[in-house]
Amino acid sequence: MTTLDPRPAPTTTARLLAGAHPGGAVGLAEHRDLHGAPAPLDRAALEALCRETGLRGRGGAGFPVATKLAATPGGRRTHVVVNGSESEPASHKDRTLMRHAPHLVLDGVAVVARALGTDRTSLVVHDPAAAHAIRAALAERSDLSLRVELTPASFVAGEARSVTSTLSGGAAVPGGRRVLPSESGVDGRPTFLSNAETFAAIGLHACRGRVPSDGAEDGTTLATLWGDVDRVGVLEIVHGTPLDDLTARPGRPVLVGGYHGTWVRSDGLTVDRDALRAAGATWGAGVVAVLPEATCPLGEVARVAHWLAQQSARQCGPCTFGLPAIAADLDALVQGDVTAAERLTRRTATVRGRGACAHPDGATRFVDTALAVLHDDLALHRHGGCGRPVLGVLPVPHPEEGHR
């Protein structure tokens, strides 16, 4: 299995990770030296800032933050929740951010809470080192009484409605009704929930002031790079960077977004959430993985598909039964069973969209786009296999870590 350098990559464009040093977190004094203090924004000013900077949620769905803010009623009953659970196993950007720049995340929380007129704030996190850094940063400041909650590692536990269920004292699984957190979140109250990087971006924009934008998303975002790349680890990149610049091997199949993401050919694609969506892909959790020549691509996909099947919360039939069947079909394809391809296509279509959360949709997107992009490798397996071992370039947690 590939190992990841836990330190953020040194880069000249760092904003979110500005000042980050390998040893630990940027302290409050240093943070204020770097960024200043966030402007005290009222609700209208914060919405305008988020709209004008084109800010999208950084967790996966990429929903416009200004729209989400506008949909959340303000007031003392409203909750503000930072989702720092980062349950996507190939993503390390949120824990890196919280470990190294916790005050930027906390600035974002303070800004949103003030604008919404509430002091009910929570942060959920799975990584103990990130939780420690956030708590240490909280001890340095008095403007927040943030509840920090450690959450389970399972993939589905990081889903927004699993998080609000956990914070309401329930199980870390999404409920059966698709209700938006802005309507009914923590304890059934209106909740503004977003990913840790979203809050850091809000904090950054509030500190720096309004930056003119031409509609495209302003500034930088965090990515986690795997496989045939210059450096396996977390990198801060400017929006609009070509995907080919991130990979050491342009033209090879690239996984973008994570294990709910899409396999693409990188040609012509850039780090732009809207443009990627228009191309049928998703920036998702900011994962970019390029498989080296030495590993069996189909075997890598099958290995992740088995993990995705294990991660089903087993609440919903099509996901519970469908994802293991899909993983078994992938094994059969790896073994050269030509009948498996048709079965697999039928099963992914059957499972898609039929669950309480997006896990079946994301898992089948991962599999379907892999089959579309890896057709050369599929042909090799149809004629006896590609002869390469499965190296485990795509990280899969050990079962004991991955289960609730």
């Binding site: 769905a61 609440q315 039939g317 099509p318 059957t350 039929r354 309480a356």
Partner: protein, 68 residues
């Protein structure tokens, strides 16, 4: 405002009654229902299926936004 049958997947156990009561509904290979496209069943048929669901998994809901 027309309402459409919706499955709460956390409740559905695949009893299959809806497939007999709701025209156009089929069962997948694990015997979980595949509903017909929105707007193709009458509210009367849908209500009968909702009332018959032993797991209380089938509901009538207004077409809602799916944004997260």
């Amino acid at each position: 405002m027309s309402r459409t049958p919706t499955i709460d997947w956390t409740r559905c156990d695949g009893h299959g009654l809806c497939a007999q009561l709701l025209p156009g509904t089929t069962l997948d290979e694990w015997s979980f229902p595949v509903l017909p496209p929105d707007g193709t069943v009458t509210e009367q048929d849908a209500r009968a299926a909702v009332l018959a669901c032993p797991a209380l998994a089938l509901r009538l809901e207004r077409a809602q936004n799916k944004a997260s």
